[in-house]
């Protein structure tokens, strides 16, 4: 057997593959072979490292060197310098955005410092297409332990004791859900994995399925044993081709090894898993809609109860959990409920994966212990606000969540604190906003999404959200009235109280939280027709400051509608009746002579 003294881990996640990491992998492999190092250096494709913005990423083991932005042609230098001579290729090292210094290894990068990886433990570490690597890292040991050494009741108790709550948004205690499905009688029960992931900007579930598919298969099988089910279904959106491909490979390999199928590990327990594809409608992530979609019906929600645990897929008891929820299970069984519950806050245990995005220096996928503060996430892991701008708000919970502000920065993040502050955990989207973001527009953006995605079954959601959107639109155009502000609040409350499913019940949250936290901004739009952030086109004007203008003509030459007049070396003037407010003049002017009023 080859004795590798060095491993090159090449990210094979969707982000890095989009910038040719598979070509890079091939080149590295070829270089290694040409230099006769194939028995010393192992080149591996892994799942996402989380730092996708810096990708493609290559991590060198054992010295943990973290190369970013690696191009396929860099393979030659990496092999010649690092693999043969042991010298780091400095130009490929990550540069700290704040301190401006190069950081050679991931351990010392702010982005990774405060992270604890449980659900993402194997992402970026193992080859997801090779079951051996999963097995080498305790893979399927939790399943073996449960099948051979624990009763279903004991295993469920372990999950209850761990304090794990659903990571798909609602935060329902996972073990309790399992116990309900266990206690209900049914001739055939089902285990469903919700891999619909509809929140805009969230991609944690996709990354787990791409980087560590076996952890989800193992957990679903454990769940099958616990509730007495023999069939598992993964509902995944068809837009996730790489995740689907890796899941198929993983299912095939698990069957081959006797870890899925009949008589698993000689225990007498049978369980198998199939994939079901969704067309990617947001509402199909709601569990009752998801079940209908799998049954071939329209993906519309129905009233609960009955809950899926009572009557789910084909009317049978069904346990539905989210991908990230499942990914935690094997670790809980292996390390014990006590270990797991030692991480996190009193009522929210373990870690949560967030997709950190927006006006922040380090964008990416992070896994942090519950109880970490927003400040730590944004300023330490995220490296602060881009371009030295001022922090304004952070949106959590996607279209169901709200915007938090400066005063919430030191609140420990967990399910209950986020709810109490007027937002929610949701599936883990986290979008950071700076002084240039207009909060009325932000609310409008989310409402636009909800209106698009509402299934239309019930009127508060179908009609109400549309009305909310129209009022917001009016306000951003400077035509809002004080009465509209009251209407926003009242209508929001009605939609929340009367909608059938979670989509409608939470869709006004972005409006309510921005009204609460940024009422000034709404007021300015309504009473002064002003947008502080300069985002609402109808409320701003581009003007040339005569004292600063030197008449260089740059603005006039770049204006797409030719609405700037002026001779060379003379002060220029914008014809406001023609200006389309594209901002090109301001961007081109080197003399700070164009301003927004």
């Amino acid at each position: 057997m080859a004795k590798f003294k060095m491993h090159m881990l090449v990210c094979g996640g969707t982000g890095c593959r989009a910038s040719s990491s598979d070509m890079l992998y091939k080149n590295l492999k070829k270089e290694v072979q040409e230099k006769g190092l194939e028995n010393e250096v192992q080149v591996v494709t892994t799942g996402c490292f989380g730092f996708c913005e810096q990708g493609p990423i290559v991590k060198m083991i054992p010295d943990n060197t973290f190369y970013v932005g690696v191009k396929p042609e860099d393979a030659i230098e990496i092999v010649a310098e690092h693999a043969i001579k042991g010298r780091k290729v400095n130009r490929l090292l990550y540069k700290d955005p704040v301190k401006k210094e190069q950081i050679p290894d991931s351990k010392h990068m702010g982005f990774y410092k405060k992270q604890i990886r449980i659900a993402l433990r194997n992402c970026g570490l193992i080859d997801p297409e090779n079951i051996s690597e999963y097995l080498a890292l305790d893979g399927y040991e939790a399943l073996g332990k449960v099948l051979m050494e624990m009763t279903p009741e004991e295993a469920i108790q372990e999950v209850i004791d761990s304090g794990l709550r659903g990571r798909g948004g609602g935060g329902f205690p996972t073990g309790v859900k399992w116990k309900i499905a266990h206690d209900v009688k049914g001739e055939q029960k089902y285990v469903v994995c919700n891999a619909d992931e509809g929140d805009p900007g969230a991609f944690m579930d996709r990354s787990i399925l791409e980087g560590d598919p076996h952890s989800v298969l193992e957990a679903m099988t454990i769940n099958g044993y616990c509730i007495g089910a023999t069939k598992g279904l993964i509902y995944i959106r068809a837009e996730y081709p790489l995740a689907i491909k890796r899941l198929k490979i993983a299912i095939e390999q698990a069957r081959e090894y006797g870890l899925l199928g009949e008589d698993i590990m000689g225990s007498g327990f049978n369980f198998d898993i199939e994939l079901r594809y969704g067309a990617g409608a947001f509402v199909c992530g709601e569990e009752t809609a998801l079940i209908h979609s799998m049954e071939g019906e329209r993906g519309e929600p129905t009233f609960k109860p009955p809950f899926p645990a009572q009557s789910g897929y084909l009317g049978m008891p069904t346990n539905v959990n989210n991908v990230e929820t499942y990914a935690n299970i094997p670790v809980i069984i292996n390390k014990g409920a006590k270990w797991f519950s030692s991480i996190g806050t009193e009522k929210s245990k373990g870690t949560k994966v967030f997709a950190l995005a927006g006006k922040i220096n380090n964008v990416g996928l992070i896994e942090v212990p519950m109880g970490i503060t927003l400040r730590e996430v944004i300023f330490e892991i995220g490296g602060g606000i881009k371009g030295g701008k001022k922090f304004k708000a952070v949106q959590t919970g996607g279209p169901s969540g709200g915007c938090l502000t400066e005063k919430h920065l030191d609140t420990p993040i967990d399910y209950d604190n986020l709810l109490a502050s007027g937002s929610m955990m949701g599936s883990g989207g986290m979008i950071v906003m700076d002084e240039d973001d207009c909060m009325v527009s932000v609310a409008k953006f989310y409402l636009d999404f909800t209106v698009e995605e509402s299934c239309g079954k019930c009127s508060p959601c179908r009609i109400g959200n549309k009305r909310l959107y129209e009022i917001l639109d009016k306000i951003t155009k400077g035509q809002g009235t004080m009465e509209d502000l009251d209407k926003l609040r009242n209508l929001s409350q009605v939609i929340k109280d009367t909608s059938l499913c979670g989509l409608g019940q939470t869709s006004p949250n972005p409006v309510l939280s921005t009204l609460d936290n940024f009422y000034d901004e709404y007021l300015a739009h309504v009473t002064e027709q002003k947008c502080f952030a300069g985002q609402c086109k109808d409320l701003i004007r581009y003007e040339i400051i005569p004292e600063n203008c030197v008449g260089c003509t740059a603005c006039a030459r770049n204006c797409p509608v030719n609405c700037i007049a002026g001779e060379r070396k003379q002060v220029h003037l914008i014809d406001q009746s023609l200006c389309i407010k594209c901002g090109a003049c301001m961007e081109k002017c080197k003399f700070n002579a164009v301003t927004i009023i």
Partner: protein, 130 residues
């Protein structure tokens, strides 16, 4: 086919597979382990650093010592190649010069196992930055 027929089967398989991936797990917490670095610049390779490195990797594993062996670039001691730097947990690094297999064996047996210093130590004349 590699059917796993019992938990014991699974554990045995894991034990066999573990060494393939051990390096990745170990590098997660380098401070807690013996770290050995072999200088692998042109002159180092010319004077046999490669063989010394292979010997160290094999022997440390055979003797069950939890260590990470890696290579570095030029350490600036061309006159004394091959050179090997050893860092015991929570101690300052020590550099050995003129290391051949015999000397490497001494390093494992004496310095790594018992902390006893050997001849041929080169005073460390640089500060590590990382």
């Amino acid at each position: 086919m590699t059917k796993i027929k019992s938990l014991a089967d699974l554990k045995k398989m894991k034990a066999d597979l573990q060494s393939q991936i051990a390096l990745r797990e170990k590098s997660d917490n380098p401070e807690g382990r013996v770290q050995v670095r072999v200088a692998m610049a042109t002159c180092g390779i010319a004077s046999g650093a490669k063989e010394v490195m292979e010997f160290l990797i094999d022997e440390l594993e055979k003797r069950n010592i939890d260590a990470i062996v890696s290579q570095t670039g030029c350490m600036g001691y061309c006159y004394a190649e091959p050179t090997v730097e050893v860092t015991l947990p929570n101690q300052d690094p020590v550099v050995f010069g003129y290391v051949d297999k015999k000397k490497a064996d001494d390093i494992i047996e004496k310095y790594i196992k018992t902390g006893e210093l050997l001849e041929g130590i080169i005073p460390v004349n640089y500060e590590k930055i990382d």
